[in-house]
Symmetry: C2
Subunit: 437 residues, 2 copies
């Protein structure tokens, strides 16, 4: 990796608004998405710079790069990023370095790249890769304890939690990008004290703030990925809203796990921030001294020293009136991915240890990233103690769970003194009324 | 549907061995697969007839059909069947009728079709569609009770079982066709009485006999499929082995369900028998009088009168020595899909009721199809009461769970007096030793 050069805080772009220190998309970020421009041209890969997108299909036509960077640009210009993801870290790094140089002040490629700039404001985004399989994990000890207390008061944290990153398979077909508007789900629930289930719209609709992990190179069935090789298999991260129907979940989830309570919608942010761009925000991965040491396949020096990522996350709620009025809404919670009990590398080492094969474009949700403190709960069910204590949004407006018309907005960014801010953009989704029954 | 004509027991094929009354693939069956011939040509769709395959890519070049049948043939000749699956019941029926007529004795198309015949013996098969999402269900009350007793002695059958078809998401990437050879999985287990988990090869490796349901036309996110429309969305059925690592499962599955214990391998039979071909084997769907009536979205007259399918299933085990010697091995169990507590239509109505979208080529496992009687348990863990009572295969050969080198073979067929036998072919998979640790 060309860390020093592509992360150099002194590097500035000739795209003026990319140099805004409060912006999400400086030249040190360069995240990937798949988009259509305002004229509805065929979907193609793009890279964010300031408030613009480098249209990679247009750029490719100028043949600005050579060697591996040119090969990677060919793949990145396609309508899904799967081929780029499968090319591996050297290709991703070569393309990142070439783009960083081309977008830097004084670049001789400025004229060519300028013709490929498209405003983000007019673009529509789509899921950036064909998702072969979607896995959802459960890596926040705070979330697991908080929610476990509600579902199983006597036994909140399962005995396996501190030994392995718990995960389960999720639904890929219902994943869409930011802007997703979905109907409140309908289903069976068992009301407290009832002797038979009810049928109707979900009454306890919730969000869950997660980090999405996009797989780059995969592994062959039966050949695990070792923990120290795991990061090289990861293309990058996004924000992910694992919308959850709590009342449907409580009734259906025994004994095989959540099913329809999670498969009516899942929203991701369109931009994939590469692990390379997040390199300056690596932090040690730690666990309390009293907790058991991980088994050898989940343990490494490298993981101890830099397994965590200090990524700030925030969840906001806008009522439909606020959204129409252009108001920002209310911050519900904030936390950091650094609190995760298990690291990205540990999730991948565990996922593959039994032989399961991952493929380029697979998506792994980190699990709800609640932190230890008050206001760090990354779901309504935790913030309201199971719906008992409503959250006050503003004068006279409270919520226990989500109401029709509500929009949930996630924001995520890395920021630290002396380093350039790396942002993720937004992950927004809106609840529509249930279908008529 | 042209039931009378395509099911007519009197219709015979000019492909002589298709008229064998004990064969799997008479002219009344006509299942679909994707294969390569012995010369390794590009993968394409095929239809079984006797011991041969109609190579649909070769047939298509002769333009033997017209109208909708010709359009369906174009799609069926591709290297995955997804496009055919998405065309819907009228297209499937038109192609089936055209093929049935072309293969019937006296057909004027005989000469053209004859050039497209390939022996099954030299062909290699592949997964016949791109599987967008794989769902595994849990619809046998006998399996749920038997296995529930082992995992939760006090609470074998969960209270939701008789109210909804329990399901969960499974792993699509590790699914392969009959002939799959996979390494014994490795992972964490918690031995009884231990205070910390062990790591190593699975010691309780099992099979599960399921029926695979291939989705044809899908549904839009948020728009459920009503129970009476559900069968029209189903392209057909296959046999499915949901290999399971019981010791890994017991430790990992709380609270979110099976994960690595099921994602190291899943084997399906290559042939998809269409629902239309199974029409003569429809039977009433019933439940015990004392059980609750299904909620309205899971109930219909049509489902009561013909929701079941009388499909005989058998599981066989061959040791590596027996397999090398060409011996048939030992029948472990036999049952029928007609025992299923929930019908195919109910599974689909439930899967989509909350808004989840199904897509052409999605695969749904029926769950382990154990029957009520002795010898009708469709997994080793049930046959051996959790490994306590070994099964005797032959002189001196016993099994509690699967050993390295063991091959499990599933067979499935429908047969009844006065109707033509409809077979599924074989679903075989072999356990290889675990990787070295």
């Amino acid at each position: 990796m060309n860390l020093n050069e592509t992360h150099d805080p002194a590097r500035r772009s000739w795209v003026a608004d990319a140099n805004d220190p409060a912006g999400d998309f400086p030249i040190q970020n360069l995240p990937f998405a798949v988009f259509r421009d305002a004229h509805g041209a065929v979907a193609r890969g793009g890279v964010a710079i300031g408030s613009s997108i480098v249209d990679l299909a247009t750029l490719r036509a100028c043949s600005p790069f050579e060697g591996l960077a040119a090969e990677a640009l060919d793949a990145a210009a396609e309508s899904t990023l799967n081929r780029l993801m499968g090319m591996g870290q050297p290709a991703w790094s070569a393309l990142r370095l070439a783009l960083s140089r081309a977008l830097a002040e004084g670049s001789p490629l400025r004229e060519a790249v300028e013709t490929a700039l498209v405003p983000q404001s007019g673009a529509t985004f789509q899921v950036p890769a064909h998702i072969g399989d979607y896995t959802d994990m459960y890596t926040s000890v705070h979330h697991a304890t908080n929610i476990g207390r509600l579902f199983r008061p006597d036994n909140p944290l399962m005995p396996n939690f501190k030994w392995l990153p718990v995960g389960y398979h999720g639904r890929a077909s219902s994943i869409d990008v930011s802007g997703q508007r979905f109907r409140r789900p309908v289903g069976q629930t068992m009301p407290p004290g009832a002797d038979k289930p009810s049928f109707g719209p979900c009454k306890r609709l919730d969000y869950e703030f997660e980090i999405g992990i996009w797989m780059g190179t995969g592994n062959t069935l039966g050949e695990p990925v070792a923990i120290d090789a795991a990061d090289e298999h990861v293309f990058g991260l996004c924000l992910l809203n694992d919308w959850s129907a709590r009342d449907i979940q409580a009734w259906e989830y025994q004994p095989l796990g959540p099913f329809l309570s999670k498969s009516f919608a899942t929203t991701i942010s369109p931009w994939i921030v590469t692990l390379e761009a997040l390199e300056p925000y690596r932090v040690p991965w730690t666990r309390p001294d009293e907790d058991p040491a991980p088994l050898p396949y989940l343990e490494s020096e490298d993981n101890r020293s830099r397994g965590g990522i200090d990524l700030t996350i925030e969840a906001w709620l806008q009522t439909s009136e606020e959204r129409e009025a252009g108001a920002e809404g209310h911050r519900l919670s904030h936390s950091t991915f650094a609190h995760s009990y298990w690291s990205v590398a540990q999730m991948i080492a565990h996922h593959t240890v039994g032989g399961c094969n991952l493929q380029p474009g697979d998506l792994i949700g980190s699990g709800t990233q609640s932190g230890p403190g008050e206001g760090e709960a990354a779901a309504m069910i935790e913030l309201t103690q199971g719906g008992k204590n409503p959250v006050t949004l503003a004068d006279g407006i409270t919520r226990t769970f989500l109401e029709d018309g509500d929009t949930v907005v996630f924001k995520g960014w890395c920021e630290r003194e002396g380093r350039v801010r790396i942002g993720f953009g937004l992950c927004e989704g809106t609840v529509l009324p249930a279908r008529e029954l």
